[in-house]
């Protein structure tokens, strides 16, 4: 399972990005995107912003769960009060020979109950929610720094370390 996490500002500008892999079930915590997917991830993630805008008014929740799917990529979203989006792209490991296709995801859904292989299960939703909540708390702290201006890229190493820790803890 590979993850790509990004925070998108109110002008649809990226504030922060981080790529990582699962640490559960003996995962090494490294992202296993191929070079092509790496470039694609940013597009996939940003293209889901349209869906976010549709979904964000339907319920009063911050956590919008998995809102978009592009082949084997699932996008979960957490939207803050000031319209900053925390987006997580998760890509379950593709099944042997299946490649990055929807079919591969379906196969691995049956074969395993781990959160890594099962992107739409309640357990996964819960884990992603916990990750978002922790990332959000730290985001709030990072924006409270007097040297931070709204919609500025977050380069704070402490914030990055905390997001890394949250990823390791929940995903």
């Amino acid at each position: 399972m590979s993850y790509y996490f990004a925070i998108i500002g109110t002008q649809d500008n990226p504030l922060f990005e981080y790529e990582f892999g699962t640490s559960k079930q003996g995962g090494d915590g490294q992202a296993h995107f191929n070079d092509q997917a790496r470039h694609l991830n940013q597009f996939v993630l940003h293209s889901s912003l349209d869906i976010v805008e549709e979904v964000q008014w339907t319920n009063g929740q911050s956590y919008l769960k998995a809102i978009d799917k592009f082949f084997n990529n699932y996008i979960s979203c957490f939207i803050t009060g000031s319209n900053v989006k925390l987006l997580l792209l998760h890509q379950p490991p593709s099944s042997p020979g299946g490649g990055a296709s929807g079919l591969g995801a379906a196969a691995s859904t049956r074969s395993s109950t781990s959160i890594a292989a099962n992107p739409t299960s309640p357990q996964t939703e819960e884990a992603v929610k916990n990750f978002f909540t922790e990332a959000y708390e730290n985001y709030v702290k990072a924006t409270m720094s007097p040297f931070y201006r709204a919609n500025m890229e977050i380069r704070n190493p402490v914030f990055r370390a905390r997001v890394v820790a949250a990823g390791r803890k929940y995903l």
Partner: protein
């Protein structure tokens, strides 16, 4: 001489009964904004920012001492510089910031000591700019040095105060060094012959 425990009881008592409390985030954000604005105004000349903060603190200290003496109801002088240190840490910092820095590292002549801040309400949330210089040059809480310098000057003590480490810079502790330069003699009125 007032003992250390008596000083901390006094500080606690005043804090509880005679101090108006204010939301700490208001203080944190206001002070943070001042520092950030100074950095902007002086084009990230952090040495100059330190100087300005010290000067602002000095002007606060000159007036704050009166408030401190009134609230603590102090009617007499400290017997020596060690007692002064106790009063600064356990009463002064307690009533204005609700913290009690640790007094340590006295020199043998009792003229220099350090205040170690376990917590620093001014620095909550703060991350110094990562321009490669702020970590080495900016003393974010430098206003406190000025406050002490100004306040002590009004009670006939000329001191020099500066930070020597700060957790914001990645140091293990936040430590301020205070040195007594001299007691300022009362100036006699000019003799009229």
């Amino acid at each position: 001489m007032m003992s250390a425990s008596k000083a901390s009881r006094l500080g606690e008592e005043i804090w509880k009964t005679r101090i108006d409390k204010v939301n700490s985030e208001l203080v944190v954000l206001t002070y943070g904004t001042i520092v950030a604005q100074l950095c902007k105004d002086f084009d990230s000349d952090y040495v100059e920012v330190n100087k300005q903060l010290d000067k602002m603190g000095y002007n606060i200290g000159l007036r704050l001492i009166e408030d401190y003496l009134a609230k603590s109801n102090t009617m007499r002088r400290c017997a020596n510089f060690r007692e002064t240190a106790e009063m600064i840490a356990k009463v002064g910092f307690k009533i204005f910031l609700n913290i009690t820095p640790t007094i340590t590292n006295w020199t043998s002549d009792s003229k220099q000591f350090s205040l170690v801040f376990d917590e620093n309400p001014l620095a909550d949330f703060v991350e110094l700019p990562d321009d490669g210089r702020a970590q080495d040059e900016l003393w974010f809480s430098n206003i406190l040095c000025g406050v002490l310098r100004g306040a002590l000057e009004m009670v006939q003590m000329q001191v020099e105060a500066h930070f020597i480490s700060d957790v914001l810079r990645g140091n293990d502790t936040t430590e301020m060094r205070i040195s007594l330069i001299r007691y300022i003699d009362d100036e006699l009125p000019p003799e009229d012959d």
